[in-house]
Symmetry: C2
Subunit: 215 residues, 2 copies
DNA sequence: CTCATCGACCTAACGGCGTTAGGTTTACTA
DNA sequence: TAGTAAACCTAACGCCGTTAGGTCGATGAG
């Protein structure tokens, strides 16, 4: 720990103040990633690590929840991107429509299983978006929602075009269904830590029941 | 507020010390019910309301998380009971198997929609049950899980006996699917506060796709 | 070259929190 | 009547988020 080195930090030069904002964001993201608990993150702890005074964080964020929200918003966008990339990669590798959708589902499961506490944190937040904000910038989770409806729409377009109008409903059903499985994973019978077999079985069962087979 | 009256509380008499435990439990339950946030509950706040000293809570609970867990465990059991009662009531009112199941689903939705923050709190907790505890007393949510698998099993027994062996899987799929919908409710499009229409539609869509029709 | 301004921080302090250590008072028991 | 034990208590520690009010060097204007 280079606490001594940080104790007398030299401030960023004029015009580079935004770099501290990024430092704070990075540190907060790492702590949240590791702990998966919002209350394991403290502004004073961040300040200690960075060698700054705790109130300096308020130069860049309104309060603690603003900081956490900013970190998580980036995570939502990253998750949505990862899903899209997984779909594209599977398609380029020659997978059929069902295979592409399964690749996306598997990526999402991987994200949830890889760090269950992070996943819970991301999806159990209050997220009290005001109706105003919502109409302006949309809900932070909209990117994830759209990634799902797009994924299902592409499957339907290739496999079952006549049901394509149901893409939105099916996308929501698939996403919420999978989310429920991951959220309740540890309460399901025969679920041991680091064994996601039951999740693979459930997700297969859910997909087969929800989605129409390929023509 | 009868703070003045409580300021000098007369202690429970010898042999009645457990009554304070119940007082603490009741107060904690009320605050959690109203706020839906664990960090809105403070031991010092409970103590103020009851006219006791904060450390006295430690005579009855190991720490704050122990208190919260105790409150929530009772809620899980109550939820499971309510589901069973709703099923029985529907059956006695002459509903068919599908109607009974829908009554149970509706009750569960009502519980979630009636106080979304309480619902989130109940199902987003760490619940780090040790493997040891789990084998001894079971997971606190097991009662809810069993209520679901029982409900689906009874439906299948009446409507589609040949698929009855799938009751466990279908129960889990139904529960996790519904849970995902409720957990992500506020991120879904066209979901306005106090309008659970979209939930009713989604739950109908999920049930119809998951469950086999009646013979 | 001076000097006011401004950006990038800082210290001090407030009130609140969970939790621990170590009493104190009251009732029952031997 | 002495002692034990139940049902509490006070004081204190070290955290925490947040606010108020500095400090100090770079920068641009006159």
């Amino acid at each position: 720990m280079d606490l001594a080195a940080q104790r007398r930090r030299v401030p960023y030069r004029q015009g580079e103040g935004e770099r501290l904002r990024q430092d704070i964001l990075d540190t907060a993201a790492r702590i949240l990633e590791e702990s998966g608990r919002e209350d394991a993150l403290s502004l004073r702890g961040i300040a200690r690590e960075l060698g700054i005074a705790a109130p300096s964080i308020y130069l860049h964020f309104n309060d603690k929840t603003d900081l956490v929200r900013t970190v998580l918003d980036a995570r939502y966008a990253a998750l949505a991107s990862t899903m899209r990339e997984a779909g594209s990669a599977a398609a380029e590798a020659g997978a059929d429509a069902w295979g592409v959708l399964r690749a996306i589902v598997g990526t999402y499961r991987g994200f949830a299983v890889d760090n269950p506490r992070r996943y819970r944190l991301m999806f159990s937040l209050e997220q009290q978006t005001s109706a105003e904000d919502r109409r302006a910038t949309g809900h932070p989770l909209d990117r994830v929602l759209i990634a799902w409806t797009d994924a299902v729409d592409q499957y339907l377009a290739a496999a079952c075009p006549e049901q394509r109008e149901e893409a939105d409903t099916l996308g929501v059903l698939l996403w919420t269904g999978l989310h429920g499985q991951f959220a309740l994973w540890h309460t399901l019978p025969h679920s041991f830590v680091d064994d996601d077999t039951i999740l693979r079985e459930l997700e297969e069962a859910l997909m087969r029941r929800l989605l129409p087979p390929s023509d």
